[in-house]
């Protein structure tokens, strides 16, 4: 039986470096996600990428900010809107792009596509395309660490839609009950696909409800990368300190459709425009320009560098070989048991 520990409330702002280089790095990280996905739109339109593709554009501050709180030993469990999480985690753009091209060099050898990016080496446990499906899994990763005494954090991203799933509530209860080292990051972009938060939740204050499970829970401005980083650092610190799971409600917004294209019949154009005024990438860039931490020239150079990197990723994905059809039945069961039907 796990011991009952007192809740630990970390001090705000502890150990967060606030220097300009760090801020420029955050910008670059967010911009990489943004430009990468913009290229994805282009490639999807050209039918180079197929399947469902869910873009993260508008939410970049969450992935980039949270990642600042995690070490290489920590684990990430993600959703189907996970390009940003994977890129921020360090999964190479080449591997992601190749995966979306269905190539052998893809990070899941072409088995997963956009929704199922995996990188075991970086402890990136996947894009899970079942809403809420990654939560119990993340609890298990945390349970293993808990049982083996390893001081690691498992960070699980999920959306406001998952808050309606039993799996969230089961996992929240289980993790809090067992004091699992779990960082629950709810990306509340206000829509479960096309259903607005107030149309699918009786109580729309998600942090308030998560707190009901006995977890430390905060709501955070998900459009501000610095606020996200700050909250994530504090929460991760609490998790590492053995205070059990922490819940962060990241209030954010996706600028594009649920999956590639939709008619946006479920929300006003004005609402989208309103949120775009708070664009986490451009807004942050503006702040850095105003603070003279970023020059126009430096911005251009950054853009060129990112574009070149994405070009290389696309080129590599184009050139990469297809996985031979003969391998179709591989990775269904473990290779050592390859003789099964």
């Amino acid at each position: 039986m796990s011991s009952t520990r007192t809740a630990h409330t970390p001090r705000p702002g502890s150990r967060v470096r606030r220097d300009a280089a760090h801020r420029l790095a955050l910008l670059e990280s967010m911009l990489r996600v943004r430009r990468f996905e913009e290229r994805c739109v282009e490639l999807y339109s050209a039918a180079r990428i197929r399947g469902f593709m869910h873009l993260y554009i508008g939410e970049e501050a969450v992935a980039v900010g949270v990642n600042e709180a995690l070490t290489g030993d920590d684990a990430v469990v993600s959703t189907y809107r996970e390009h940003g999480h994977a890129l921020a985690r360090g999964v190479p753009a080449e591997a992601i792009m190749a995966e979306m091209f269905g190539k052998v060099t893809g990070c899941s050898r072409g088995r997963g596509g956009s929704m199922h990016l995996f990188d075991a080496g970086r402890r990136f446990y996947g894009g899970n395309a079942i809403v809420g499906g990654g939560l119990p899994l993340a609890a298990g990763l945390a349970l293993a660490d808990h049982m083996t005494g390893r001081n690691r954090v498992t960070c699980c991203f999920f959306g406001d839609g998952a808050f309606a799933e039993g799996e969230f509530h089961e996992t929240a209860n289980l993790a809090a009950l067992w004091r699992l080292p779990l960082l629950l990051v709810c990306e509340n972009n206000l829509y479960a696909m096309g259903t607005a938060l107030e149309r699918h939740q009786a109580q729309t204050d998600l942090a308030l409800r998560a707190a009901g499970y006995g977890m430390v829970s905060w709501a955070v401005d998900g459009m501000d990368v610095l606020a996200v980083e700050d909250a994530a650092r504090r929460a991760a610190e609490g998790v590492r300190a053995g205070a059990g799971p922490h819940f962060l409600e990241m209030r954010t917004y996706r600028f594009r459709a649920h999956s590639m294209y939709d008619a946006d019949r479920y929300r006003d154009k004005a609402e989208i425009e309103h949120w775009k005024e708070r664009d986490p990438v451009e807004g942050f860039a503006r702040r850095l320009l105003e603070a003279k931490e970023l020059t126009g020239k430096a911005r251009d150079a950054l853009e060129d560098r990112l574009a070149a990197g994405i070009d290389r990723a696309v080129e590599a994905a184009e050139q990469a070989p297809e996985e031979p059809v003969e391998t179709l039945l591989e990775y269904v069961t473990s290779p050592v048991e390859a003789n099964r039907s």
Binding site: R109, G126, Y331
Partner: protein, 359 residues
């Protein structure tokens, strides 16, 4: 070879030198946890209560609450947690009370356990063992009595086992834990009290193969799990009528041991598949189809299936019994297969194949 009389004795408390199915399963878990620190048991009431069916009784005292982990009634969460723990090197044994409850965790089993290795392009192995009770016969009515193992046997990426004997209950767990892929073990509720003398470890046929539990020459009765004792009893009755039935225990529902099934049918030319699942879309249907595909020209009669009636399993004793495969319905099916539908009559005896009749 002469068929030995292998009618399984009625459930009874473990006699001297004998082990019950329940004790065998517990012993297997105890052995696994002693041998490997990564192994732990997680599920509803596995700890203080001692397991819904008493399988884990006493383990909490030996291994403590960290490794004998009582879970909240959150099948999806604790099964998923088991999968997550397995991903990073643990060897969880997750117990689900009944197969009906496993539906609450079906998402985790199918969409994660069975799928992660593939979706990750081979990066993530899921060495979890999920045990659950299945089957009817104890008047537990429609939400505790179903046999849905056939559904799981449908899913690539899983290994599905159905120990039907005390020895399999004792020895299947270790290879299941050693398997790098998810393994589901279905324990038929009617078997827990069955007792037998445990054979010594060597000679255990592994978890890959089906096993001929009783050799015969006229008809292959193919079954698994809780239907095995019924099939053996039916074989006894058939033997009295001069029909030599071979009883094959599938043991592994996925993958199916096509070779053993095929060999048997190639010898007997007739097959009766006994499956407590519903007939439509059943495991029995799969086996019948495979026999027809692979052994069409060996078949001397249509493959017979004895399955549960297509009804939620009812509570009332007589109704429940009527809904399930029974020794007499197995006998009737076997008789149809050998072309001797009537109860033994002197004037038809000569029409039966002579090969399998006792001299």
């Amino acid at each position: 070879m002469t068929a030995t009389r292998t009618r399984t004795p009625a459930p009874a408390a473990a006699a001297e030198g004998r082990t019950t199915y329940r004790d065998a399963m517990r012993e297997a878990m105890r052995e696994a946890m002693r041998a490997d620190e990564r192994v732990f048991l997680m599920g509803e009431d596995v700890g203080r209560y001692g397991g819904c069916f008493g399988v884990s009784l006493g383990l909490l005292e030996e291994f403590g609450p960290e490794r004998i982990r009582d879970a909240p009634l959150s099948e999806s969460a604790f099964v998923g947690a088991g999968i997550g723990a397995a991903l990073v090197g643990m060897r969880p044994i997750v117990e689900i009370m009944t197969v009906n409850f496993s539906l609450l965790a079906l998402d985790q089993i199918l969409n994660n356990a069975a799928t992660l290795l593939h979706m990750s392009g081979g990066q993530l192995e899921v060495p979890i063992v999920i045990r659950m009770t299945t089957g009817a016969g104890r008047q537990l009515a429609a939400q505790h009595s179903h046999s849905l193992e056939g559904w799981y046997a449908h899913i690539p990426g899983l290994r599905v086992l159905a120990p039907a004997t005390v020895a399999d209950a004792r020895y299947m767990l270790a290879p299941a834990l050693a398997d790098p892929d998810p393994v589901l073990i279905f324990e038929h509720g009617s078997l827990y009290n069955v007792s037998a003398e445990l054979p010594a470890g060597p000679g255990f046929p592994g978890i890959e193969r089906a096993v001929v539990r009783r050799p015969g020459t006229d008809v292959s009765v193919i079954t698994y799990g809780g239907s095995l004792p019924k099939a053996l009893a039916a074989a006894d009755d058939l033997a009295e009528a001069g029909i030599s039935a071979e009883v094959v225990d599938l043991r592994s529902l996925r993958p199916l041991d096509d070779a053993t099934l095929g060999d048997s049918v190639a010898r007997t030319h007739r097959a009766v598949v006994v499956d407590e699942g519903w007939r439509t879309g059943s495991l029995a249907a799969e086996i019948s189809a495979r026999l027809t595909e692979g052994h069409f020209y060996d078949l001397d009669a249509p493959v017979e299936r004895v399955c549960s009636a297509e009804v939620p399993i009812p509570y009332a004793r007589a109704l429940e019994a009527a809904a399930l495969p029974q020794a007499d319905t197995i006998v009737a099916a076997a008789r149809r297969a050998v072309g001797d539908p009537a109860p033994a009559r002197a004037d038809t005896a000569d029409q039966r194949p002579t090969a399998g009749r006792p001299s």
